[in-house]
């Protein structure tokens, strides 16, 4: 009897530890194949044949059609600069520059991976060719539920969201992350 109880405890606790740690590892881009810059992370090997098991699991969980290295590279963040989760009820300012690429897109998603859309069904996303740029060629994008001058991405509602910045036709997709790419900072302005 005592053995059965012991085994049951070991089994339950083991599954809990294993499950939570696996989930944590997948969601937090832990793995050999990641480039992490600030809160942004990318997996240049996401679609490749020789990926580590963590990247392979992440690719499956991601549910997207991976970008090949000649296509581009996707950076994702779920947190602001302070390490807090991005919340749809807060206002954020993205500023800075992006690594060299032919162009890039920035889109907002809910945590399941669906694009956030406004009431007219338009995706809340930006294309680098359609932005207003600062005089020093850096960019500023406001992410908020209230209209703002300059570049503005609309998010509203409750819950958290994530940002995916996709660089297309970029040399860093094939450089295996020897140098840290420079990515925009995500600053929380205010909430509510």
């Amino acid at each position: 009897m005592r053995l059965a109880i012991n085994l049951a405890i070991i089994f339950a606790l083991g599954l809990l530890i294993g499950g939570l740690s696996a989930r944590f590892a997948i969601l937090n881009s832990i793995g050999v194949g990641s480039i992490n810059t600030g809160t942004w992370s990318a997996s240049p090997l996401l679609g490749n044949e020789e990926v580590d098991p963590y990247t392979a699991a992440r690719a499956t969980m991601n549910g997207s059609i991976a970008l090949g290295s000649a296509e581009g590279l996707a950076f994702e963040t779920t947190k602001d600069d302070q390490g807090d989760s991005l919340s749809r009820s807060c206002h954020y300012l993205l500023s800075g520059s992006t690594p060299a690429a032919r162009f890039w897109t920035l889109a907002t998603y809910d945590l399941k991976g669906n694009v956030i859309k406004n009431s007219e069904g338009k995706a809340s996303a930006a294309y680098s060719g359609g932005l207003v740029w600062e005089p020093d060629f850096s960019m500023k994008i406001t992410v908020s539920d209230q209209p703002s001058s300059g570049n503005w991405l609309y998010v509203e509602g409750g819950g958290n969201f994530k940002l995916i910045l996709r660089l297309y036709d970029t040399p860093i997709a094939s450089s295996s992350g020897l140098t840290d790419p420079e990515l925009p900072s995500v600053k929380r302005l205010r909430c509510g």
């Binding site: 690719a59 499956t60 059609i65 897109t105």
Partner: protein, 183 residues
């Protein structure tokens, strides 16, 4: 009592490590969100179809500025030839195996003459191509793979809605046919 707790904890951690490894390795095999499995299940072979036109297929984390068309291939018997019209829209393409791993990728800048022209063959068919040296080798990208089944995804940038029609035309006119070796 203490010894028992310690023993339980150690065993649980060992069990946890085993469970962790199993979960990580099983996710790619069993994951329901897997885009490759969804595509292989619902996309026709030998024909490009826009993902947006296919019912009941939900690809997560996709770029809203892009339209994607996919074509499933099986090159066990004959190779596949993919051809698109010349366009000044940005497009990129990747060849995936059945597990959704990229075998080869290129974009309109790295393609020969900026034209989407690709021949996908297995090693046996490649040997025959090398022997015959057909003319189309000069204008096509030839990719050799030992993976017989997979799919090709072509993406086109639609930076604003005025380009939607042109992008759709490009995707609709994509060919994905058997490569018989004849010009």
């Amino acid at each position: 009592m203490k010894a028992r707790l310690f023993y339980l904890l150690i065993c649980s951690i060992v069990m946890g490590v085993v469970a962790h490894i199993c979960i990580i390795l099983l996710v790619p095999l069993l994951g329901e969100k897997d885009a490759a499995r969804k595509i292989l299940a619902s996309v026709p072979t030998g024909k490009f179809e826009k993902l947006a036109d296919i019912k009941d297929i939900e690809i997560l984390n996709s770029d809203p500025f892009f339209e994607i068309a996919t074509c499933k291939f099986d090159i066990s018997d004959v190779g596949v030839e993919v051809e698109g019209e010349r366009t000044d829209l940005f497009w990129s393409a990747s060849i995936f195996n059945a597990r959704g791993r990229v075998l080869y990728s290129f974009n309109n800048r790295t393609a020969i003459g900026k034209k989407l022209k690709l021949i996908l063959v297995n090693p046996i068919q490649m040997a025959s191509i090398r022997q015959r040296q057909p003319e189309e080798l000069e204008t096509s990208i030839v990719v050799e793979t030992s993976e017989n089944v997979g799919f090709i995804a072509v993406r086109v940038l639609v930076k604003d809605t005025s380009l939607t029609q042109r992008a759709n035309n490009f995707l609709h006119k994509l060919r994905c046919s058997d490569y018989t070796g004849q010009v």
